[in-house]
């Protein structure tokens, strides 16, 4: 087995190669025009990749499950609900659509509030086990999804087209202003979450053992839920929902980097995530000539991987 430091060097090199390829390959129509635009997209992919990897790994530790991700709590669906409701009620000419900051802010706040209500409602009533929370999240996610479909069916078709571009993840129309906000949010999450990583290491030993070792388990769970919501909200608002990315990168990280240390797991998953996004986007632009979007590719591969993981788990259980 290779040493972890070697694996990190390999991952970093691959990530850098893809970033350089993406930034410089086949630049046409003037370097000064295309290059800054490519840089913005690469930066958006790095932010998104790290946010999704970070939130998924933390989330999977507190739920002690490697198959469920924050989108299971219905957070992604909440993004779609917010956007659909805005388009439906206010129309695409509304300030909440035209002003990206405002749109971003409303989406993030709604998603955090949603996660907190879900948490408070389920945790404060009586201490329910976490799988109940996940089950509720799944059902609520489905409910929100149906609500979105319903509104989309009766919405004005022109509005619908404009809404659709917002709901499909696309690195081709990243809003530069939002990128700076995301960078600040990501930085804040790193400072806030960095102190919890060692507690999370202990929490991977289970609730009882972690509490025995003096970790304030329930408090950390709450913090992780808030942090995950913020991160997922940020990445979703920036480039739209990419449901299966977190699942793929976290599980590849667990398989490739064998450790209990969250600092290493998150770093590894982030690198894999950047490779998947930048590499995937490179393929979308230069092989598929923009005939598809990266979320379609990732959800296709991720869906197959998800089924593989489910089959593997059920075989291990049986």
């Amino acid at each position: 087995m290779r040493k972890n430091s070697t694996k990190f060097i390999i991952l970093t090199i691959i990530a850098i190669v893809f970033i350089l390829l993406y930034a410089f390959y086949n630049i046409q129509g003037g370097f000064g025009y295309a290059f800054p635009r490519r840089l913005v997209r690469v930066a958006a992919m790095i932010v998104t990749g790290i946010a999704i990897a970070y939130s998924t790994i933390m989330f999977q530790t507190i739920t002690r499950n490697r198959i469920l991700t924050p989108s299971v709590m219905g957070i992604d669906s909440m993004y779609e609900v917010v956007q659909t409701v805005i388009y439906f009620v206010l129309g695409s000419a509304s300030i909440f659509v035209v002003n990206h900051y405002l749109n971003f802010g409303v989406a993030i706040i709604a998603m955090i509030i949603f996660a907190l209500i879900l948490y408070r409602f389920l945790f404060r009533a009586d201490k329910h086990p976490i799988y109940l929370l996940l089950l509720a999240g799944m059902i609520i996610g489905t409910l929100l999804g149906s609500l979105v479909s319903f509104l989309q069916v009766i919405i004005d078709p022109v509005e619908y087209l404009s809404l659709q571009t917002r709901l499909f993840a696309s690195f081709n129309n990243v809003k530069t202003e939002l990128l700076y906000v995301s960078l600040v949010i990501l930085g804040g999450c790193f400072i806030y979450g960095g102190r919890m990583l060692r507690d999370l290491d202990v929490m991977s030993l289970g609730r009882d053992t972690a509490m025995n070792l003096g970790v304030n388990y329930d408090k950390i769970v709450l913090r992780v839920l808030v942090l995950s919501s913020i991160l997922i909200a940020t990445s979703t608002a920036l480039v739209g929902p990419i449901t299966f990315l977190g699942l793929i990168v976290s599980n590849l990280a667990y398989q490739y980097i064998v450790t209990y240390k969250h600092s290493l797991l998150i770093a590894g998953a982030s690198l894999i995530s950047i490779i998947a996004l930048v590499g995937g986007q490179f393929l979308v632009q230069h092989v598929f000539h923009l005939n598809t979007t990266i979320s379609v590719i990732i959800n296709f591969i991720g869906g197959i991987y998800f089924i593989y993981l489910l089959l593997k788990e059920s075989r291990a259980a049986g």
């Binding site: 060692r198 991977s204 030993l205 009882d208 053992t209 025995n212 070792l213 003096g214 304030n216 209990y260």
Partner: protein
Amino acid sequence: MIEIKGVSKLFGKKPVVENVTVTIHPKKITSFIGPNGAGKSTLLSMVSRLLDSDTGEVLLDKSNVKKMKSVDFAKRVAILKQSNFLNVRLTIRELVSFGRYPYSKGRLNAEDEKHVDQALEYMNLTDMQDKYLDELSGGQKQRAFISMVIAQDTEYILLDEPLNNLDMKHSVQIMKILRKLVDELDKTVIIVLHDINFASVYSDRIVALKDGRVVKDGPTNEIINSAALKEVYDMHIPVQEQDGCRICVYFNSHS
């Protein structure tokens, strides 16, 4: 000293532990015994703060354990529960090092390493400290977890059925180590046991529970006799002396 005062716990509407008052004597091994569903593990979980009690309080040197800071509590009381399923891959040494978490927060200093070495030595794990837990037998794994609790270096060590799934040799080994912890290192051990003979031979005091209530509480020799055991288990249990130990011979008894 740990004092359990009027503690109750309901699961739904069903009381699992009802108004239990027990004082744990320091520097002794106290065994919790009783039939299945008597509330032994639940009581242990409440003493160690893994579960909140619905009424009553648990006092550690006169202060309510619920009001203590998690880290401070973890330096004084350690608990090991029955099931220790892990979904991370760890070596024995890494696991035992986690026992130092309340002190070091993951950054081990020389003092911490010394405690880890000693804990491994105590459980005879030094030679295999770099083996992964998933390569170990049940007994070795159990010893690794107990070693972690020893590295935690607390005055109180609480163990929930540590002999589950262990053969006779390993069970005796673990009970002897607990005895050593109490006699040599002045620890206080509370242990939930199913096998009353282990309780009889190795513990100083016994608390017998039944249907969530304390039926007997006292020194071992006052509890291990047919009359007292009849009250706890509802069966006739003949007790015989063997080399100064009281052994319960219940295998062929008529209730």
